[in-house]
Symmetry: C2
Subunit: 316 residues, 2 copies
């Protein structure tokens, strides 16, 4: 898989372009894998803003597995794009989700980077085909979309644009897999890629249930967290229905319960995020938060997420 013309073995240096929460988490992840990281962000205070993000993410990662010694020189902040991208064996772009901005930035990265260097974009909402439009070597430009928080969640969605070489997707797949990520191949561009489409589908029904007065925000969250959410941490939805079919697997499931699923699908809601629904959601999460601040809640989420990842790591 890594025999293509793109660099995926022997990568030593990664460029992180755009260093907000996503870029900082990526930087920490690559550092934790023993790689040299060169960060470029156009903000004048970039280093001051990003260092604490990287340090917190490294502290999280250290709870998951023992980290290599990271020499201070492994992390460089570069005032100019050339300084970050020039020496890089891989580039991860994390600029704001504005198409024109990313197109121009990727064109510049593409000019600087050696022709066999893969360029992955963290975009959650834009298409690789559009992003690569102004690049001289569009065949090595692809979407490499992480899931938040990117240093902890293994998923990386690899999406080709019309001009991305399939070998580039394969090379990125092989590399991310070797780093311990869980890459997937998205075969066709679609808004939200794969995981966020399913998240949106689930949330649409979660909003409908609240808007219709079927259950409260807190009870909807409890239903997922103490119910199917636990199973989705250990198996995907197709596999779970395969197991739900008993000895006959998916075929038996579809025979016995396919019609019941289709009946349920026909009754799923299509809510709007109008003023009334908005008020119900905002008031509902406030009830659920019971006075806890966002940062307290987020720290608890990450603490539990680390515990789950540790447990699964020890239980293949």
């Amino acid at each position: 898989m890594s025999q293509g013309p793109f660099r995926s073995a022997g990568i030593a240096t990664v460029a992180i372009v755009g260093g907000g929460l996503i870029g900082g988490a990526w930087a920490a992840f690559f550092l934790s894998r023993g790689l040299a990281v060169r960060v470029h962000d156009p903000r004048p205070d970039a280093e001051v803003a990003i260092r604490p993000i990287i340090e917190q993410a490294l502290a999280d990662l250290a709870q998951l597995s023992s980290l290599p010694t990271i020499p201070p020189a492994a992390l460089q902040f570069c005032a100019e794009l050339e300084g970050a991208v020039g020496p890089a064996d891989y580039v991860q772009e994390n600029a704001p989700e504005v198409l024109e901005l990313k197109q121009a930035l990727l064109a510049r990265i593409d000019e600087i980077a050696a022709a066999d260097v893969l360029i992955g974009s963290s975009t959650s909402s834009l298409r690789a085909t559009d992003l690569q439009r102004d690049c001289g070597h569009p065949e090595r430009v692809l979407v490499a979309h992480p899931f938040n928080p990117p240093h902890l969640v293994p998923l990386v969605e690899l999406v080709r644009g019309d001009k991305t070489a399939s070998e580039a997707q394969e090379a990125a797949y092989a590399w991310f897999e070797r780093l311990g990520k869980a890459p997937i191949r998205v075969a066709k561009e679609a808004r939200g890629h794969v995981a966020n489409r399913m998240s949106s589908a689930l949330w649409r029904e979660a909003v409908h249930i609240v808007a219709e007065g079927i259950a409260s925000v807190e009870d909807v969250d409890r239903a997922i967290r103490f119910g199917p959410g636990l199973r989705w941490a250990v198996d995907g939805p197709h596999m779970l229905y395969h197991l739900g079919g008993g000895a006959g697997g998916m075929a038996a499931y579809l025979d016995h319960l396919g019609p019941a699923q289709e009946a349920r699908w026909a009754e799923l809601g299509a809510p709007a995020l109008d003023g009334r629904t908005r008020e119900m959601l905002v008031a509902g999460v406030a009830d659920e938060a019971k006075g806890r601040t966002i940062s307290t809640l987020a720290a608890a989420r990450d603490r539990r997420l680390i515990a789950v990842l540790q447990a699964l790591d020890e239980t293949p």
Copy 2:
């Protein structure tokens, strides 16, 4: 909450009516909580069929927490319904999902059980209003729907029918919470209650993604299991978007990304489980299974589920 006219404190004996996989798992759960369990199932070989289910579930539960000594007399199989329900302080009904059958059975249970005994149905697809129709004391009949496997997954959805007393729902809530389950109050009857509606919504999009060739069955499953599924094991969808809004929480999330969600909702799929889709799903899970049998896969799922539950139990 437990001051109503329904028994929820001091419960010593539980009747399990209908002893397949669900009834067996419930029986093991109640035994693990130090309760006496009386099982009735009309099949002549019921005891032979159910004992191994109960024993496997108890072995699973023993991995989660140390169990009390369970004297052999704590588990009784009763050939007649009266023998199980007569002495019970709570009744959990788990008969096949056939309305007329459950209506007749619940009417008989209702005649036998003391008037302050709660009667919960494990139904996933029927309405409490229909189930309680022929009962003399419908006010204590409600849906108490577990999530598979019921001895491990904490969620219990409590749904009132038109004639169920709100005090009955509150009494059941208090009791299940005291037992260490995670009950929720469903305020309005809806097909699939709450958790299965959201599961169906997610799966509809998962099927769409496969049917449209956006990603394979295995990659869809990887996307959930190594992506949002990990987060849904630690927080519900509303809370996660609240945290996704940064310091401004849900209100900020809706301001910034509400329109993007609505755009994604508009593009979600509405697949049919037709012959072609069915073939793609069956072949896709076969690829993903890589020769592993259903029982191997299910054992791995439960092993990982136990590991996740243990980790979360230690990380509040």
